[in-house]
């Protein structure tokens, strides 16, 4: 696990710089096993900064959400930078955004943290149903060590890890200005077993499954808002002319919305799993995203968010792309 002290020192030196507006990190939440995103604007805030396996949020969404108001007459543009603390998967989002020219590399400062996996809040709340005070968390090779009021409990990592972390290929940030801690060696490979077994099902079974899932959707668009890669100024779902997706909440529009969301992340989704985490209806959105990730890798040998020089998948082509489906 990362040395908190070192992280705070690093953030402190960074925030003391004149050209850094704020740094986004995590702090303790109000109760229970919850951390929350935290905006550090001065060195007084630094003491509240934490990093532990409960810091699940992908903070790269915040630089994308920043609203740029029109400038006053003789005002000059604020060119100061935004600092972000990133885990391995979050750094891929930044790579992808920079690749798409959504952000300039010079506009952000990245602090990279190696991450050996984060805890699934749903799984841990099943183990500790009572809302307790925020615990201290440590980890060793195989276990998470949870300390609540001096009571130490060891829980095997495999039981409470987020599913995405079990097959994480990139625990170390791919892009950073400062790197804190030791690099983690990994031998894990992307695992598409679940997707493959679902693909083999009958079409009617597949639809039955997705119909049940999409039926739950209340179209709050939390999945879109939390996604670091959904940063269009106006989302297609909000457009009224043409109206791509109607506002009524029924299976037809819900399915259209979910198809649209998944498709717009084809070749872009970096698999941070935030959409599924925030979904109030528990729709398994990673199952859709991962399917496209797999197809894109198989068809075009392309992994989103790994190569900053490459062009985005759907805005380039190769003359020998697969076309056996063309009549």
């Amino acid at each position: 696990m990362v040395n908190q002290k070192k992280l705070r020192e690093e953030v402190n030196t960074l925030i003391s710089r004149n050209d850094v507006k704020y740094i986004i990190g995590w702090e303790k939440g109000s109760y229970g096993f919850k951390m929350k995103p935290f905006f550090i604007t001065s060195s007084e805030d630094v003491d509240r900064l934490v990093f532990n396996p409960l810091c699940i949020h992908n903070l790269t969404v915040y630089p994308m959400l920043e609203e740029k108001l029109p400038l006053r007459k003789d005002a000059t543009e604020d060119k100061s930078k935004i600092g972000v603390i990133v885990k391995g998967c979050d750094s891929r989002a930044i790579v992808q955004i920079i690749q798409e020219k959504g952000l300039n590399r010079e506009d952000i400062v990245i602090i990279g943290i190696p991450c050996s996996g984060v805890i699934d809040p749903k799984k841990i709340e099943r183990l500790f149903p009572l809302k307790s005070e925020t615990p201290d968390i440590d980890e060793d090779e195989k276990n998470f060590i949870i300390i609540i009021k001096d009571k130490i409990q060891k829980i095997p990592k495999q039981d409470i890890l987020m599913d995405k972390c079990k097959t994480c290929e990139f625990p170390n940030p791919l892009i950073y200005d400062t790197f804190i801690g030791k690099e983690i060696e990994t031998v894990k490979n992307a695992d598409y077993k679940e997707i493959e077994s679902f693909e083999k099902k009958k079409l009617s079974d597949k639809w039955e499954y997705w119909e049940n899932q999409f039926d739950k959707c209340i179209r709050c668009y939390a999945c879109r808002n939390v996604c670091p890669l959904c940063y269009c100024k106006e989302c297609m779902v909000d457009q009224l002319n043409p109206q791509w997706v109607r506002r009524s909440v029924n299976i037809s529009e819900n399915a259209a919305w979910n198809i649209m969301r998944a498709f717009h992340l084809a070749g872009r989704c970096i698999g941070c799993g935030e959409c599924e985490r925030v979904c109030p209806a528990d729709i398994p959105l990673t199952k859709l995203n991962k399917k496209l990730e797999k197809d894109v890798y198989e068809m075009f040998d392309y992994k989103p968010g790994t190569n900053i020089e490459e062009k985005p998948l759907l805005s380039m082509f190769k003359p020998d792309d697969p076309e056996e489906f063309v009549l």
Partner: protein, 143 residues
């Protein structure tokens, strides 16, 4: 045409320069092809947004066909290459959600291939007749 047989609605997005001219040639050469296809002319197959396909299925189409120029022949140099990638991904996604992959199809038809156009339309119509109507994501008030 048998009366009680299921008559599918097929929406075809044809590019102005090749496939639409190909369809025109099929017509002027008096070739027979099923009347189930509703043609929408687009300037390039690259104009076809994946949401066109989804919206067509919602609004009552049983199948969607996208026609473009042969690779390398695009009037806009590269539009059809982009569509090919896009539709490859979309087809996989729709199949994963439970649509038969034959419902969304692509074809390359040049302006000289009236015969090919008629054949493609016959093939697509046959396939979709076998598959039956789309009930899955049809809008309640579509026709």
């Amino acid at each position: 045409m048998q009366k009680d047989e299921f008559q599918p609605n097929i929406v075809a997005f044809l590019c102005n320069w090749c496939s639409y001219a190909g369809a025109d040639l099929a017509g002027t050469s008096r070739m027979q092809y099923p009347p189930n296809v509703k043609i929408i002319r687009v300037m390039c197959s690259g104009r076809v947004n994946p949401m066109f396909v989804v919206n067509a299925l919602q609004e009552g189409a049983d199948g969607v066909l996208i026609g473009g120029c042969h690779p390398g022949d695009c009037h806009y140099i590269q539009g059809n290459y982009f569509t090919r990638r896009r539709m490859a991904v979309l087809k996989k996604l729709l199949e994963y959600i439970g649509f038969d992959e034959r419902r969304v199809r692509m074809t390359w038809v040049s302006a000289a291939e009236g015969k090919k156009f008629a054949e493609v339309i016959s093939e697509v119509t046959e396939d979709i007749k076998k598959l039956g109507p789309v009930q899955k994501i049809r809008r309640a008030n579509s026709w």
